[in-house]
């Protein structure tokens, strides 16, 4: 707490009619802030008055400020009246639509920090906010983490205003609402809750708004922090929100009645509610033919199962239930294990951890070195380890297959949860063989069965396949032909479930299955 702030870091300084007092206040607030640019001018003809302009360097368009605002202030205010100077400046001196009056010091500071320009006028306890933001940004980058073969290549960026545009460009509907709020007493991060009014469930909106206001935090730097702050399943590795960097995916979610949260400075938006099935849906599933999309989706499900189960199953079968293997396989496995100094479990753990280290190093390593790391770590060391009989070739295959299959799931946080669960199942399988493996799978199912994301059971539609006329299952493991997907999923309000109707004779034919 300082003289100008309360214990929650809210600015308590009062707005004065005296410009000098206000300048002193702002100077005190922005003391030692080298990036803040401020200057006092005198404008007007005979009835000259003092004004004070303040902004943060490189957060505004300087050219616009000088050519469109300052030039006009000095040139066009010759007939300044004696009274109502503030209104005169507002109406005659500034050529912009985005002009707002601000009435408190706290507001002024907030606007300055957000990249707006503030003009204070002597004798008035209000100021003008002129929006001429021009912050450095990456523009609209290409999606790197959720690559698709077909469809948009655009990705969200760190700038909230760009992200908003990316959504608005895709959904040109006045019902697309973007409620904006600030979170973080120090970072004052802009957070936008985007949804399609009438389609998104009001109770979900109310719940997310309640959760966003539930905590007071000093700062939010990324959507991931907001996600953790507002989630309910804190002790579950499975995410309660779906995250994406693809605007088309976010737009599709909004159309399905889901809510998208944009967080300033974060290129990843979060989508809610979510289900396990949502994590297996890649954005280009909707753009490709249904046969291909179905095949790929099945592959992802199989991949996800393998990534959880393969190491555990390998240990369980080798140590306890070798009869499950065909004779040729069991002998081949036994032969491959001959002379390996570690037990099967230790061997699997060593390889698994090595691979995870390789993965982590690959992520942290500067780009050009990544390839070298893969070759040295993956190929050379792996081959040397097998040749030196430190590990068996089978375990290398198992771990490699496990690693590859993990990447078939098109959502990294979700795939990471699977990577963690894998160790739990591995431990149980090593302890109790196939019985332990089944215990692990059962525990996982029970856990997933109990999870909910904003009231939506995680296992929908598999756990409630008949609900919503069974249409949710049409876009689950199998993706039905596009024309068959006539209804929105359970995320949407009950009255707004129809999304596709066939026009016949200029008349729209409602879906027969309508509620």
């Amino acid at each position: 707490m300082t003289l100008l702030h309360d214990d929650k870091n809210h600015i308590t300084a009062l707005f004065s009619k005296s410009l000098d007092e206000n300048i002193d206040t702002l100077s005190a607030l922005f003391e030692n802030c080298a990036d803040v640019v401020k200057r006092k001018f005198s404008v007007g003809g005979a009835n000259q008055t003092d004004i004070f302009i303040i902004y943060i360097d490189n957060m505004i368009d300087k050219e616009l400020l000088e050519m469109n605002t300052l030039l006009q202030l000095f040139r066009d205010l010759k007939e300044m009246p004696e009274t109502d100077k503030f209104e005169y400046i507002k109406n005659q001196g500034i050529q912009t639509v985005d002009l707002v009056e601000v009435n408190t010091i706290a507001e002024i500071v907030g606007q300055i920090l957000s990249g707006d320009t503030i003009i204070l006028v002597d004798g008035y306890d209000k100021a003008l906010k002129v929006s001429m933001r021009k912050m450095p940004n990456r523009g609209v980058p290409t999606s790197e983490n959720e690559v698709s073969v077909r469809g948009s290549k655009e990705s969200f960026s760190e700038a909230l205003f760009i992200n908003r545009v990316l959504l608005r460009r895709r959904i040109k509907d006045t019902n697309l609402k973007m409620k904006q709020l600030k979170i973080g007493t120090r970072t004052r991060t802009d957070v936008a809750v985007c949804y399609l009014e009438g389609v998104a469930k009001p109770e979900v909106l109310a719940e997310i708004e309640r959760r966003l206001n539930e905590y007071v935090i000093d700062g939010i730097l990324d959507s991931g922090m907001l996600e953790q702050l507002t989630e309910r399943n804190t002790y579950s590795p499975f995410p309660e929100y779906q995250s994406t960097e693809r605007p088309d995916k976010a737009a599709a979610a909004i159309l399905d009645g889901r809510v998208v949260i944009l967080v300033d400075n974060s290129p990843v938006v979060i989508v809610l509610p979510t289900t396990l099935n949502s994590f297996f849906q890649a954005s280009d599933d909707a753009y490709t033919r249904w046969e291909v999309a179905t095949f790929l989706r099945l592959l992802r499900y199989i991949g996800a199962f393998l990534t959880i189960a393969l190491p555990g199953l390998y240990v369980a079968v080798l140590n306890y239930n070798a009869e499950l293997l065909s004779p040729a396989m069991s002998l081949s496995f036994a032969a491959a294990r001959e002379g390996v100094p570690f037990s099967v479990l230790v061997e699997v753990i060593i390889m698994e951890i090595s691979f995870q280290m390789l993965l982590e190093a690959g992520v942290r390593m500067p780009g050009p070195m990544g390839g070298t790391l893969g070759i040295v770590g993956g190929l050379i060391i792996g081959d040397a380890a097998v040749n030196a009989n430190i590990v068996s070739p089978i375990v290398v295959i198992v771990i490699a297959l496990t690693a590859i299959t993990a990447f078939t799931v098109p959502n990294e946080p979700f795939a990471s949860a699977f990577r963690i669960i894998r160790y739990f199942i591995l431990a149980l399988s090593a302890f109790l063989g196939l019985f332990g493996f089944i215990i692990g799978i059962t525990c996982l199912l029970i856990h997933l069965g109990g999870l909910k994301s904003f009231g939506m059971p995680y296992m929908v539609p598999f756990a409630a396949s008949g609900i919503n006329h069974g249409t949710d299952t049409k876009d689950a493991m199998l993706r039905f032909p596009f024309r068959k997907l006539r209804r929105r999923p359970l995320f949407a309000s009950k009255d707004e479930r129809t999304k596709l109707v066939k026009r016949e004779g200029g008349k729209e034919m409602e879906d027969e299955n309508e509620d």
Binding site: K201, E203, V204, E207, L318, N319, Y320, N321, A322, E323, L324, L325, S326, P327, S330, L331, S332, F333, A334, A335, A336, R337, E338, V340, S343, V344, F431, L432, G433, L434, F435, G436, F437, I438, I439, I441, T442, C443, L445, I446, G449, G450, K452, F454, G455, M456, P457, M459, F462, A463, A464, S465, G466
Partner: protein, 741 residues
């Protein structure tokens, strides 16, 4: 949003009920039906299922009478004190069911999946996971069941349907041979397996009726009936496959005998050698649903009478209590005996009597407008007994096992046996040269098989593992001795690891001679015999004989099994004939030529080649004919109490050698002539074979008498226990009709 109201849909209710009714019961139903009603077990199951419909209906009626919320109804009408006494019998019953389920599955898993692990560890884990499932509530349990429903049901049904192919109908027929009392007792026992229906009385308030359900007039009973129907069908399938593969004796002997069929049914594809572990693992998923349900209702009822807001706190003491009772050192069969008696005389009657009393008294009280006056405080004391666990799970790494490829058994002296184990050559597999062939054959001589195993463990640093065993070869010293054959079959029956689907061969002399050829045969003798059995013999349409067939024949007593016989030549071996197992030992041996006609008379012998001799038999064969297809039709008749059999062996064949080049008409006439000669030749030889083996030797090698069970019931009944008379009186009218193509 979905609400956390602990409500489930009607469909979820049906699926939960199917798992609750079938998961544990499915394994013991074949035993219950076979032990109580013998061959009429299927009738007992049908009747028991029929009773279940009535039982379910009564439960729902009583539930309706109590306003749907059974325990609350008790509270409102009689007060908590009475509710306490109403709830106690349910708690006792659920507790005992839980102990029984944990115990039986602990033992099954211990016997099948985790042979070296302490049973207590298995039970503890089983209980913990079930309690975890119960802690999540009804909604989550219903969701999980919906997810795993098809995952569990589809493989099990497919597996059972595949199993039906192998079923011997003689094990299941004739029907209506047991007394009505036995069938009635059996059907009551089957009804006991449906006792989970009783839980509907507590589940009813948890059912969520959607508007559409109400509109369509959907009733809960319809859904319960659907679950009973599905369970009934599964029970029948399970019984048919178990009884059909194992026979009455083995099915009735062991409570969970059904587990043995998991080994015997072969899945197509060949990726998995033995699928028993796979099927059992899938089955396990459904077990957790039942044990979870028992925990759930146990905590629900206990929580209600204790007025606990969070019933999950009860789960920990419940785990300890159930665990404490489940590990009491008492024989499972004995425990089941007491449990069955409890269920018969207390468990089942109470499920109708208590709600009936509650409903009637409630109505009466309302009628005379009296209020409950007794409401006292009571306590439920939970005793927790922690049982210390010793050690961790035992396991052996794959490279530390000796996967035995083939086992040879010979008699040695009067009492001793000599057992040979053939090991795989792992060095060849890793391309590190080859193992000394002598080291790949281990020989042990001892009094019985367990002593042989002990000798092995003293001499070898790797665990003996039979899970990949490919063939068993029995020397003549073993196969001819009833005692030694019996000891061998008992050993196989009790050693779960040794698959019942392992092919069995006879050695013409000593099994050791065949085993000596291991180093001369590429891939080893195990591989060779597995291929011989699965490819060559099957190509000839010869039924593959495995250890399970011999056990069935031994247990049923009146069965015979035809075993292929091997002969060791210099550095190679060949199938030299067959031996016929009957009444505990191999009592008849036939050479190659005789064995062909033995197989023909049994309806096998596809691709066999016939050499029709010249009149002068010293000359080369006149015609060489290949049998392309062969079928056998049997029809039994009874005339003046005497059995008659019309036996037709027919099929198609092609002439390989002996047909002269002629114009079409003349050629056709030649073919007809050859056809006649061929049929006469086969007929003559089959008749000769039947006469010498069946009539003169009194050896029912075609299993004719057991066959009457499903072909001519009256004959089966007439000659029950007089099989030798059946063969003596039998007249066979044989017709052979091969069509030359």
């Amino acid at each position: 949003m979905f609400s956390d109201n602990d409500k489930i849909s009607l469909r979820q209710f049906t699926r939960l009920l199917v798992f609750d009714l079938f998961s544990v019961s499915g394994l013991i139903i074949p035993n219950l039906a076979a032990a109580s009603s013998g061959r009429d077990g299927i009738l007992a199951i049908c009747l028991g299922t029929l009773y279940a419909f009535i039982y379910g209906y009564l439960i729902l009626i009583l539930c309706k009478q109590t306003g749907g919320r059974y325990l609350n109804y008790c509270d409102d009408n009689f007060g908590r004190f009475v509710t306490f006494f109403v709830a106690i019998p349910y708690i006792v019953k659920l507790f005992l069911c839980l102990v029984f389920s944990a115990r039986i599955f602990g033992q099954v898993i211990n016997q099948t999946l985790l042979a070296d692990t302490d049973n207590r560890i298995i039970i503890l884990f089983l209980l913990m996971v079930s309690a975890y499932s119960a802690s999540k509530g009804m909604e989550v349990r219903a969701r999980i069941t919906e997810i795993i429903y098809f995952l569990v049901m589809v493989p099990i049904v497919l597996f059972l349907l595949l199993g039906i192919r192998k079923v011997d109908p003689a094990n299941l027929t004739p029907l209506f041979t047991e007394s009505m009392k036995d069938i009635g007792a059996g059907s009551y026992l089957i009804l006991l397996t449906f006792s989970a229906l009783e839980m509907m009385i507590f589940a009813v308030p948890m059912i969520h009726y959607r508007k559409s359900d109400i509109k369509k007039g959907k009733k809960m009973y319809n859904y319960a009936a659907r679950a009973i129907t599905i369970t009934g069908i599964l029970d029948i399938l399970m019984y048919v496959v178990t009884m059909g593969l194992l026979g009455r004796k083995e099915t009735a002997d062991k409570l969970w005998s059904a587990i043995s069929i998991f080994q015997m049914v072969k899945l197509p594809g060949g990726l998995v050698q033995r699928q028993d572990a796979f099927i059992l693992s899938i089955w396990l998923l459904s077990i957790f649903t039942l044990t979870g349900a028992l925990f759930y209702y146990l905590s629900y009822i206990s929580g209600h009478i204790l007025k606990l807001s969070n019933r999950n706190y009860l789960l920990v003491p419940l785990i300890l209590l159930v665990f404490g009772v489940a590990v009491i050192p008492i024989d499972t069969e004995q425990f089941f005996y007491y449990f069955r008696r409890y269920m018969m005389y207390i468990g089942m009657p109470q499920s109708l009597i208590i709600p009936l009393l509650v409903a009637c008294t409630g109505k009466l009280k309302k009628f005379i407008n009296k209020k409950a006056v007794v409401n006292t405080v009571f306590a439920f004391i939970v005793a927790a007994g922690a049982v210390s666990l010793t050690g961790c799970s035992d396991m052996t790494e794959i490279e530390d096992r000796n996967f035995i490829q083939a086992v040879g058994i010979d008699a040695k002296g009067k009492d001793m046996i000599e057992v040979y184990y053939i090991l795989p050559d792992l060095k060849v597999l890793t391309k590190q040269a080859a193992e000394d062939p002598k080291r790949l054959k281990l020989a042990f001589a001892d009094k019985d098989f367990s002593e042989v195993e002990e000798d092995y463990s003293l001499e070898n640093n790797k665990r003996l593992d039979f899970s990949q065993l490919k063939a068993i070869i029995l020397g003549d010293g073993i196969s001819k001795s009833k005692d030694k054959m019996n000891a061998f079959l008992t050993y196989v029956e009790n050693k779960y690891e040794l698959g019942r689907n392992t092919p069995v061969f006879l050695a013409e002399g000593k099994a050791g001679d065949i085993m000596d050829l291991n180093s001369d045969i590429e891939g080893g003798i195990g591989d060779y015999l597995a291929q011989l059995s699965r490819i060559n013999l099957r190509n000839n349409g010869i039924k593959e004989i495995d250890a399970g067939d011999l056990i069935l024949a031994r247990n049923e007593g009146n069965r015979t099994v035809i075993l292929p016989m091997l002969h060791a030549d210099d550095k190679k071996m060949r199938v030299s004939g067959v031996g016929i197992y009957s009444e505990g030992a191999v009592g008849f041996y036939a050479n190659k030529e005789e064995s062909d006609f033995i197989y023909f008379s049994c309806g096998f012998g596809k691709n066999k080649v016939l050499y029709l001799p010249e009149d002068d038999k010293s000359n080369l064969p006149k015609y060489v004919i290949k049998i392309n297809r062969i079928t056998r039709t049997m029809e039994f008749r009874e005339d003046n109490g005497k059995p008659y059999l019309d036996m037709i062996v027919e099929g198609s064949a092609s002439i390989q050698k002996g047909l002269e080049k002629k114009e079409d008409r003349a050629k056709n006439s030649d073919i007809e002539k050859i056809e006649e000669e061929c049929n006469a030749y086969v007929r003559e030889n089959i008749a000769k074979t039947i006469k010498s083996i069946c009539m003169d030797g009194k050896l029912d090698y075609m299993n004719l008498y057991p066959m009457t069970g499903y072909r001519k019931r009256s004959l089966w009944l007439d000659y029950k226990g007089r099989q030798a008379d059946f063969l003596t009186n039998l007249s066979i009218n044989l017709k052979v009709d091969f069509h030359i193509e």
